[in-house]
Amino acid sequence: MPRINKILIAVCLCMAIVTGCSETKMENTTKTEERHLLIGLIPEQNIFKQLKRYEPLANDLSQKIRVNVKLKVLTRYGNIIDNFISTGLDAAFFGSFTYVLAHRKLGVEAITRPESIDGISTCHGLILVRKNSGIETVKDMKGKTFAFVDRATTAGYLLPLEYFKEHGIKDYKTFFKEFYFTGTHESAIYDVLNETVDICAAKNTVFTRLAFKDSRINNELMILKRSPDVPENGLAVREDLDDSLKKKLKEALLNMHKDPDGIDVLRNFGAKRFVETTDDDYASVYRYTQKIGLNLANYHYWDE
């Protein structure tokens, strides 16, 4: 009987030690989680796909800069400007127009942007219709339905706005039978493809990505207008981000194509490498907004 007691005591001791160990481990994890970098994503495409696309990049960055990088996808382009203040984003992959807005309103600083496999680091907007829609000119558009992406996108809003202005459409709200904001470029393209809407505005990079997977897109859709090139969605950080962290983040992205893991991440992401980006690269967007008469300081980007 005393022997059984001894065994029981030994077992209890072992368990205590094991439990203790696991507790310590948990504490460590909590500590690392304390320091993190929150990066916002705009709903360029289906938000779940968007998260899936950026997650490997975030994981790779976490390892390289030794800071836990977290992602937050936003349901609206404009949200990204609000959320910098409300949810404390440290950085975000901005669309060219949202960057320009955020730079003016919040003073964010552009650092890098991806360069595609073909070596291109710019994008442009497209105005799309179905080939069988019979729409070829602006005249044909009257009384049709139109899908924008978001008021805070270059391709999904500024381009059609300029297009309308160029063709003398004073008020698109009355020109079209109906218009709405799809929120993502992907939805806009698919809405035209599925005949949910007659015309849409969307970004070429998303168009190309979708066309690669779905042959109907090239076969059935037609491009009516193409905007000038603007920088592709780039990473901009908040004005007061710690300089050393900013530097580490920038270097990790710029050197990503130099190590095998980084090359894999970039390939899945659909880029060759990241290139350095400054506010000067957005000069074309500034000019574009001027051309269509937008005042960035008091621009109201909420969709109606």
């Binding site: 779940f48 937050k72 709405y180």
Partner: protein, 881 residues
């Protein structure tokens, strides 16, 4: 037995192993089944969770834009949870049926997420958002339905699996209990049988061992099996072996005794105990006989008593070495009982027997062996010597063969003893073939011109006679390519008694050297002839300036012979001025190592000589300067020729001037003559003796004469091509005489004409031939100094083959020492008046016309110059015509 034990242990282990394996497998099966059950439960729970999340999302969507809704982030997180969990299902292995369902589930989730994304991001009018909302709701319901179906399927499977698992576990339990109870009984039974089998044979073996210990070697063990049986058998064989061994030891003992007793060598066993060292303890018969004692007598002696005193003195030392464990061998001397000393070879070592140390010693009488040994040693020495001798001979042969010369060695009687390989190579003679009557023939000898070979003393004989080495060159005749020369050296060698011992004949091929010598001689001869016969003055001096070579022309310049110069320097022979000049130029050429030209003007015997001299250094084959060569040429003649050429040019100019003056005079003369004749016509009325008429005649005559003179002058000066035409020589002689007769020089000279008529015409250029006779006549006139007689003659000579024209004077004649030189250019006896050109030109013209000129003179009587022109042969003339 071992096999039995092994089999028993194997059976026990196998039973335990089978039992254990069965227990492990049944536990493994039960736990894996339980695992499976747990997994199925987890799957069910997972699917439950999926349903819960779908419901959560749906409720959030319904409550969106109300205060009860969760945040959009929560909706996104829940939607991603669905996808994550669904992906997790794919990590496990599933049947095809399940995979299809899982793919459906995944697709439904994708569609649902798509709807959610659209719904969350879209900003449109109510109609559109409602459509999106409904789509999302419909997709959620479809998803829920799929999940529910899968939950149902999982539950059904779970129930069936749980039932069968529990049944299996029950059976396993029953078998386990049975095994646990049966095993101890089985093991105990086995142990009992094993112990009984072991103890019985051990007791039998123990009994036999005791018997053997008691000395009963004949006891045998019987009735045991297996390994114990084998042990018993070995035991029995061991007792038999022990009996056999004892017999063998007894036999061996006997053999050794016989061996000891009858051994040829003497054997001693000696004591080593202190105070008794060397006492003979045992000895055999041979030992006793060897020393002339009986065995019993020996046993009373110490071994030292048998040793000679010197052997005995070393005995203690040998004893010490033996005691240290060494087995010694030695040759010592023993003394027999009768005092005879003899050599023994002893071989002794330590023998321990029952803790007592003895010395065992074998003695062998080696007197006879020693004798034989000495004889063998001598024989061997002789062999070695012979071998060395042969070796030496071989070496000598090798040395001889390696010599560049052919060598043969003869003994004092001319018998061939040695010949090296080179001898045959060089001479092509096999030394064996030279042997006649056992002696080597005296083949090589010196050839002396004009002496018959048989009359010459043979060199070999000479060597024998004089005892001195002889050296000569042997010539082996043949054609140009096969003739050979050898230098032969025959050297005699004498023994201590002064008798001829060996003759060594060495043959060295020197054909190349001899031929080279000949070539050099030829070359030198050519060189010598070249120098001796050269017209130029050639000298070679060594670096000290002493003459080595000088040829005749060089020596004769100063009227000396070459021998006056050889070995002497310029300063010793020549005037200081000239010597300085030559030495200076020599030095300059030597310093510059190049060809140097010099011009020297000398006055020799009052005559000026112009010398062109070149100096150049001579080099040996190494390019070192060894001497200086000078080649000089007397350029006096050349100098004079140049001067004369100038003079001749001058004369030609005067001639031309004279011709033109003559031409100019001709016209006024014609005037003078015609007017004089006109004036004379006017005097026809006058008295013929009127002196005026005579005066006119004088004018006319002299004018005519003038005209003739001018005409002849013009004829002479007319520049004509050499035109040979057949002509009488008399015509030319007449004309020439006519030209000069009236000159002042000839006023006191009597001309005698002795021209032959009917001479054949001979071809010559009249103008040039006239010049010849003019010259000869003027020379004759000058020779007789304007007072005397000149005979002009012509004749046929040489049996009509020649026509000769002769100019003969009765002047003082020409002395014999200069008569040979008168036709040489620039030779003149007229001093500064003459150019020395006349006769040489005369000779040149005549020879050019195909004729000859000769001179005969006697001092005090006169001189005759004879010009001979060949008469053309009629046949040739015919041909020409």
């Amino acid at each position: 037995m071992k096999k039995k034990i092994f089999i028993a242990i194997c059976i026990v282990i196998l039973i335990f192993l089978l039992g254990g394996t069965y227990i492990i497998i049944s536990i493994e099966i039960s736990t894996s089944k339980l695992d499976h059950l747990i997994v199925l439960h987890q799957v069910e729970m997972l699917r439950e969770k999926l349903l819960i999340h779908i419901n959560k999302i749906q409720s959030d969507l319904t409550l969106i834009n109300t205060p009860y809704a969760s945040g959009i982030d929560t909706v996104i997180t829940n939607a991603r949870y669905l996808k994550n969990k669904s992906n997790k299902c794919f990590e496990c292995h599933h049947s095809d049926d399940v995979m299809i369902r899982l793919n459906d589930l995944n697709h439904a989730i994708d569609q649902y997420q798509d709807s959610l994304s659209r719904l969350l991001t879209m900003r449109a009018n109510r109609g559109r958002t409602d459509i999106e909302f409904e789509t999302a709701f419909r997709r959620a319901e479809k998803l829920s339905k799929t999940v529910n179906e899968m939950v149902h399927m999982a539950s059904t499977k779970l129930y069936a699996k749980t039932e069968s698992s529990l049944k299996d576990i029950f059976y396993s339990k029953v078998i386990l209990y049975a095994l646990v109870i049966m095993t101890p009984f089985f093991v105990a039974g086995l142990g009992f049988i094993f112990i009984r089998e072991m103890t019985k044979p051990v007791e039998a073996l123990l009994k036999a061992t005791r018997k053997l210990k008691g000395g009963d070697l004949d006891y045998k063990i019987e009735g045991l099996k297996d390994e114990f049986g084998e042990v018993a058998e070995s035991f029995n064989e061991m007792s038999v072996s022990l009996v056999e061994m004892m017999h063998r030891i007894e036999e061996t003992q006997k053999r050794y005794r016989i061996l000891f007793e009858s051994a040829g060598d003497g054997i001693f066993i000696l004591d080593t105990e202190e105070g008794k060292e060397g006492n003979i303890v045992s000895a055999n018969q041979a030992a006793a006989e060897m020393h002339g004692y009986t065995i019993n007598e020996l046993l009373k002696l110490n071994i030292r008593d048998l040793d000679t005193p010197e052997s005995a003195s070393e005995m203690l030392d040998r004893l010490q070495r033996i005691l240290e464990g060494e087995w010694i061998k030695a040759e010592i001397t023993h003394r027999k009982k009768d005092g005879t000393v003899f050599s023994v070879e002893i071989s002794a070592g330590l023998l321990e027997f029952e803790n007592h140390k003895y010395i065992l010693a074998f003695d062998r009488d080696i007197t006879e062996r020693k004798k034989a040994g000495r004889a063998i040693q001598e024989l061997e020495n002789k062999k070695v010597l012979e071998e060395e001798l042969r070796e030496e001979r071989n070496k000598l042969q090798q040395i001889l063969d390696s010599l560049p010369d052919g060598v043969i060695v003869l003994d004092g009687n001319n018998k061939l003893e040695w010949a090296n390989a080179r001898f045959k190579e060089i001479t092509g003679l096999d030394p064996e073939t030279l042997v006649v009557d056992g002696k080597i023939a005296d083949y090589f000898h010196e050839r002396t011109e004009g002496v018959d070979e048989s009359d010459q003393i043979s060199p070999m004989a000479k060597v024998k006679e004089t005892g001195e080495p002889v050296q000569f060159i042997h010539f082996e005749p043949g054609d140009e390519t096969s003739e050979q020369y050898f230098r032969i050296i025959i050297t005699p060698f004498f023994d201590k008694g002064g008798n001829l011992w060996r003759i060594v004949e060495t043959v060295r091929p020197i054909t190349d050297i001899v031929l080279q010598r000949h070539q050099i001689d030829e070359s030198e001869d050519r060189f010598r002839r070249f120098i001796e016969n050269a017209r130029e003055m050639i000298t070679i001096k060594d670096l000290n300036g002493c003459y080595l070579v000088i040829n005749e022309p060089a020596a004769a310049l100063f009227g000396k012979s070459p021998m006056d110069y050889i070995g002497r320097t310029d300063h010793e022979i020549l005037s200081k001025e000239l010597a300085d000049r030559l030495v200076y130029k020599d030095k300059e050429a030597l310093d510059k190592k190049e060809y140097l030209e010099d011009k020297v003007t000398l006055s020799i015997n009052g005559e000026m000589h112009y010398l062109d001299i070149v100096h150049f250094p001579l080099f040996d084959y190494k390019g070192v300067v060894t001497g200086i060569c000078s080649i000089g040429r007397d350029a006096t003649e050349q100098n004079q020729l140049q001067k004369m050429l100038i003079q001749s040019e001058k004369m030609a100019a005067i001639g031309q001037l004279a011709a033109s003056v003559a031409h100019e005079i001709n016209n006024p003369l014609t005037g003078v003559l015609s007017f004089a004749e006109e004036l004379k016509k006017d005097t026809e009325d006058l008295d013929p003796n009127n002196p005026i008429i005579k005066d006119y005649d004088v004018i006319i005559r002299e004018a005519i004469r003038c005209r003739e003179i001018v005409s002849k002058l013009l004829d002479y000066a007319r520049v004509e091509q050499s035109r040979r035409r057949p002509m009488s020589i008399n015509t030319v002689i007449d004309r020439s005489a006519g030209l000069v007769k009236k000159q002042v020089l000839f006023h006191g000279i009597e001309f005698e004409n002795d021209l032959s008529d009917n001479l054949p015409e001979v071809p010559f250029d009249p103008s040039q031939m006239q010049q010849v006779f003019l010259n000869l006549i003027i020379n004759a006139a000058e020779a007789i100094n304007g007072q005397g007689k000149i005979t002009l003659s012509s004749r046929l000579s040489g049996e009509g083959r020649f026509v000769e024209g002769l100019v003969i004077d009765n002047g003082p004649g020409i002395s014999s020492d200069i008569i040979d030189k008168i036709f040489e250019p620039f030779f003149s006896t007229k001093g500064s008046r003459g150019t020395g050109q006349g006769l040489s030109v005369v000779k040149a013209i005549i020879e050019q016309q195909g004729g000859m000129i000769k001179v005969d003179s006697q001092v005090g009587k006169g001189t005759t110059f004879t010009v001979s022109m060949p008469v053309p042969r009629p046949d040739r003339q015919e041909k020409r015509r």
